[in-house]
C-alpha cells in the first residue's frame, strides 16, 4: 500500500500578516509557500472574507481581492477576536472568534492543495510575535474545529523557532554563538544565543542585548545601526549573524555592513526565519518526540525538570515528567506508576543551569489501605503558566485484586 503523504507545516500567525512553510524531504529544509502563484512573497494579510449568501471563505490575498469585487463580510482583528473569545454576526449567524480563526486556517491551508488539512498535515507548529496562553488556546480550539488532534498541534515562541532553525544548520554556524538582529522600520533589537558546554546536557541561552531607535533618514539610520551593533558585539566575533524583519536594506547600510562582516563571516537576512524554525519543530515532532540533546533556556522554556525517582525492573530509574528546556506549551505527561510501601508522591525538582535539586511531597490522603505494590497511580502533569505545573493523581487500584477508588488528588508546583 502506498504511504499517504503528510506535511510538517510551520505557520507564522500575527495580527497583521501570516506565512506558511512545509518541510521538504528532498531539500531537507523548510520551504516557505508563496502567497500567490509565481510570487516569491510568502507573507499574506491575516484577513478573512466570507462571500454573501454562500459558505465560501477566503483568506489572505484572496480575502483582500474578493472584498473589493464581491458582496460579503470582511473579518477584522481576527487574532484579537479569537484570543478574547468575542463574536461577530455574519449573514445572520453569530460566529465565535475561534470559529472565525478556524475558517481562516481552513482557507489559508488550502495552499497545501487539500481541503482536508487535518489529514494532510502530520504536525503543524504555529508561532507568532506574542505567544501566550490566550494565543495557544485560540490556535488549539480553531485547529480542533478543523479536525486536528491535540498531538498534531504545536505552539512555539519566536526565540525557540530561532534556536531550532540555527541548530538545524551546520555547527560552524552556531559553535561560537549567534547574533540575532530584528530590524523594523523604527528600531533594531539584538539578542545573543550562546551555548554553554561545561555541564551536560549543554545549555543554550538567549539573552537580549538591547534595542536602538533607527531614524528614517538613510545616513542617520546607518550611523545609529552601526553604533548599536558595535556596542552589542564589543568586538567579539560570532559564528553567524541573522537579520530578521524588513527594516534592513543594503542600500543604506554602507557603514553597518562592514561592521557586521567584521563580527561574522556568515550573515543571513530574511523575513522567514521564525517560520522556517516553526516548520523544523513540526518536522522534528513528526519524526519522533521532539527530544533535544540540549537544554534551551528560552522565553517559554521550562526552567526546571520534574521527575520521580523510581525502580524499573529492580534497577533505579528516573521517571521524567517535565524536562528543563522543553517548550511549556508542549510540556506535559500522562503516565502510571505502582506505589511501593508509601502513600505519597515524592517529586524531584532540578533547576537549570545551577542543577539544584529539591524534593516536593504530595500526600495521597484517603488512599485505600492496600499492601505494597498493589496500587497503580495515574499521573497527569501539565503547565498552567510559565512557572507552574498542575499535577493530577488518580487511584487506579490494582485490577480486580484491589478495585480502583478513582479518588483524585490535585496539586500545583512552582518550578522555580
Amino acid at each position: 500500500m502506498n504511504k499517504v503523504r503528510t506535511y510538517a507545516v510551520g505557520f507564522e500567525l500575527n495580527s497583521d500578516t501570516s506565512q506558511i512553510s512545509i518541510y521538504s524531504e528532498k531539500e531537507k529544509d523548510a520551504i516557505p509557500l508563496p502567497s500567490k502563484t509565481g510570487s516569491t512573497e510568502g507573507r499574506f494579510p491575516t484577513a478573512l472574507f466570507k462571500r454573501a449568501g454562500s459558505d465560501e471563505w477566503f483568506a489572505g490575498i484572496e480575502a483582500g481581492y474578493y472584498e473589493h469585487v464581491e458582496k460579503g463580510t470582511s473579518v477584522r482583528h481576527l487574532l484579537t477576536k479569537a484570543e478574547s473569545g468575542s463574536t461577530q454576526l455574519i449573514d445572520g449567524k453569530r460566529y465565535t472568534g475561534q470559529e472565525l480563526l478556524a475558517e481562516y486556517f481552513r482557507a489559508a491551508l488550502r495552499m497545501l492543495g487539500t481541503e482536508d488539512a487535518a489529514s494532510a498535515v502530520s504536525r503543524i507548529c504555529v508561532t507568532g510575535r506574542t505567544v501566550h496562553e490566550a494565543f495557544a488556546d485560540a490556535v488549539h480550539q480553531a485547529l480542533s474545529l478543523l479536525g486536528f488532534k491535540p498531538e498534531q498541534i504545536l505552539i512555539a515562541a519566536y526565540d525557540e523557532c530561532f534556536y531550532r532553525y540555527v541548530y538545524a544548520q551546520k555547527p560552524e554556524l552556531w559553535t561560537r554563538g549567534s547574533l540575532l538582529l530584528e530590524v523594523t522600520e523604527d528600531d533594531v533589537t539584538a539578542s545573543r544565543m550562546t551555548e554553554y558546554r561545561v555541564r551536560k546536557p549543554a545549555y543554550v541561552k538567549m539573552e537580549e542585548l538591547g534595542q536602538a531607535a533607527l531614524p528614517r533618514d538613510a545616513s542617520d539610520r546607518d550611523r545609529a545601526f552601526s553604533e548599536a551593533v558595535r556596542e552589542w558585539t564589543g568586538g567579539k566575533s560570532f559564528s553567524s549573524i541573522f537579520l530578521s524583519g524588513r527594516g534592513f536594506g543594503r542600500e543604506w547600510a554602507k557603514e553597518s555592513l562592514p561592521i557586521l562582516m567584521k563580527s561574522s563571516s556568515k550573515i543571513f537576512a530574511g523575513d522567514n526565519l521564525y517560520l522556517k524554525g516553526a516548520c523544523l519543530i513540526a518536522e522534528k515532532f513528526a519524526e519522533g518526540n521532539g527530544a533535544d540533546e540540549r537544554i534551551f533556556d528560552g522565553s517559554e522554556s521550562l526552567k526546571a525538570s520534574l521527575s520521580i525517582d523510581a525502580s524499573d525492573k529492580g534497577k533505579p530509574a528516573v521517571l521524567t515528567l517535565l524536562k528543563a528546556g522543553e517548550n511549556r506549551f508542549l510540556a506535559g505527561t500522562e503516565c502510571e506508576l505502582i506505589l511501593g510501601d508509601v502513600s505519597f508522591l515524592l517529586f524531584v525538582l532540578t533547576s537549570y543551569p545551577d542543577g539544584k535539586r529539591r524534593t516536593v511531597r504530595m500526600d495521597l490522603d484517603g488512599l485505600p489501605n492496600r499492601p505494597p505494590r498493589a496500587t497503580r497511580i495515574g499521573l497527569s502533569v501539565k503547565m498552567t503558566d510559565r512557572t507552574h505545573a498542575a499535577i493530577h493523581a488518580t487511584d487506579l487500584g490494582f485490577g480486580d485484586l484491589y478495585p480502583a477508588s478513582m479518588k483524585e488528588w490535585h496539586s500545583v508546583l512552582e518550578l522555580v
Binding site: A310, E336, I338, L339, D400
Partner: protein, 256 residues
C-alpha cells in the same frame, strides 16, 4: 523496596482469568503480585500453556515464556515455571526471592490438608469467603482427628468465612466448636465476639460466664464492638444503613 515502580509492560484489555479464585488479571504486575502473595493458590490455571500464550501475546514476553515452559513438563516444578518471570521483571529482591522459593518448596512437600489450609487462608484474605469455607471443610475432612490444633484452625477459618457471609448463628457455633476442641485466648476472644453479635445481652453474659471470660476479655469485646460500630455506622440513628451495606457486601462477595 523502592517507593515507586514503573510499569513498562502496561495493562491489557484482554485479561487472563483464574477460575479457582474468580479473578481477572490485567497486567504482569498483577500476576506477579498474585504469585508472590498467594503461592498456595498456584494451580492448573497458572501451570498452563494458555498463560504463557497470554504473556507472549499481550506483553511481548516470548523470550521469558521459552524458559518458563520447562516448568510445564511432567516433572517440571512450580519454581521452574515462575522463576524466569520473577527474574525477568526483578519483582523481588534476592532475599525476598529466596524466602519465596523456600515457601514454594515447602508447599510442594506439604500434605494435602496443609495445602488446603493455606489455600483456604489465602482465599479468605482475598475475600473469596464461599470458596474459603468449602476448602476449610475439605481440609477438616482430610485431617486426622488427633490434629486438634489444626482442626480448630480450620474450624476458625470456616467460622470466619460464614461470619462474612452473614451466617452468624452457624459461625458462632463453629467458633465454639473450635474453642472447645483446642482452647486458646485468641479463640476465646473470637467466640465471645461472635456471641456478643448473635445473642441477646443476657444470654451472651450467661454464655460468657460459662466459658470463663474475665473482665479484661469482656472489656476487649466491648471495645471491638464499639470500634466496628464507629467505623461502620457513622450515624447511630440510622442502623438500616449498616444493614444495607452488609447486604451489598454479601451479594458482592458471595455471588449469591
Amino acid at each position: 523496596m523502592a517507593y515507586y515502580e514503573l510499569s513498562r509492560t502496561g495493562r491489557t484489555t484482554r485479561p487472563y482469568y483464574l477460575s479457582s479464585v474468580g479473578l481477572n488479571l490485567y497486567s504482569v504486575e498483577e500476576l506477579l503480585f498474585f504469585l508472590h502473595r498467594h503461592p498456595a493458590l498456584i494451580d492448573e490455571d497458572i501451570r498452563s500453556e494458555k498463560l504463557l500464550g497470554w504473556l507472549a501475546e499481550e506483553f511481548g514476553l516470548t523470550h521469558v515464556t521459552y524458559a518458563m515452559r520447562r516448568g510445564l513438563t511432567k516433572d517440571g516444578d512450580t519454581t521452574l515455571l515462575i522463576l524466569p518471570l520473577m527474574r525477568e521483571m526483578s519483582y523481588l529482591t534476592p532475599g525476598e526471592l529466596n524466602s519465596y522459593l523456600k515457601k514454594l518448596q515447602t508447599l510442594d512437600h506439604a500434605s494435602k490438608e496443609v495445602r488446603l489450609k493455606m489455600q483456604a487462608e489465602d482465599l479468605y484474605s482475598m475475600r473469596r469467603y464461599g470458596a474459603a469455607e468449602d476448602l476449610s471443610r475439605e481440609a477438616l475432612e482430610t485431617a486426622p482427628l488427633s490434629e486438634r490444633g489444626f482442626r480448630a484452625s480450620m474450624l476458625t477459618i470456616e467460622a470466619a468465612s460464614r461470619m462474612q457471609l452473614l451466617m452468624w448463628e452457624e459461625a458462632a457455633d463453629l467458633f465454639r466448636e473450635a474453642y472447645e476442641l483446642h482452647p486458646t485466648a485468641e479463640r476465646k476472644l473470637r467466640l465471645l465476639l461472635a456471641l456478643r453479635l448473635t445473642k441477646p445481652r443476657e444470654r451472651y453474659e450467661e454464655l460468657a460466664e460459662e466459658i470463663g471470660a474475665d473482665d479484661e476479655q469482656l472489656k476487649m469485646v466491648r471495645e471491638k464492638i464499639e470500634e466496628a460500630y464507629a467505623a461502620d455506622l457513622p450515624d447511630p440513628d440510622h442502623p438500616e444503613e449498616l444493614l444495607e451495606k452488609y447486604c451489598t457486601l454479601y451479594h458482592e462477595e458471595s455471588g449469591r
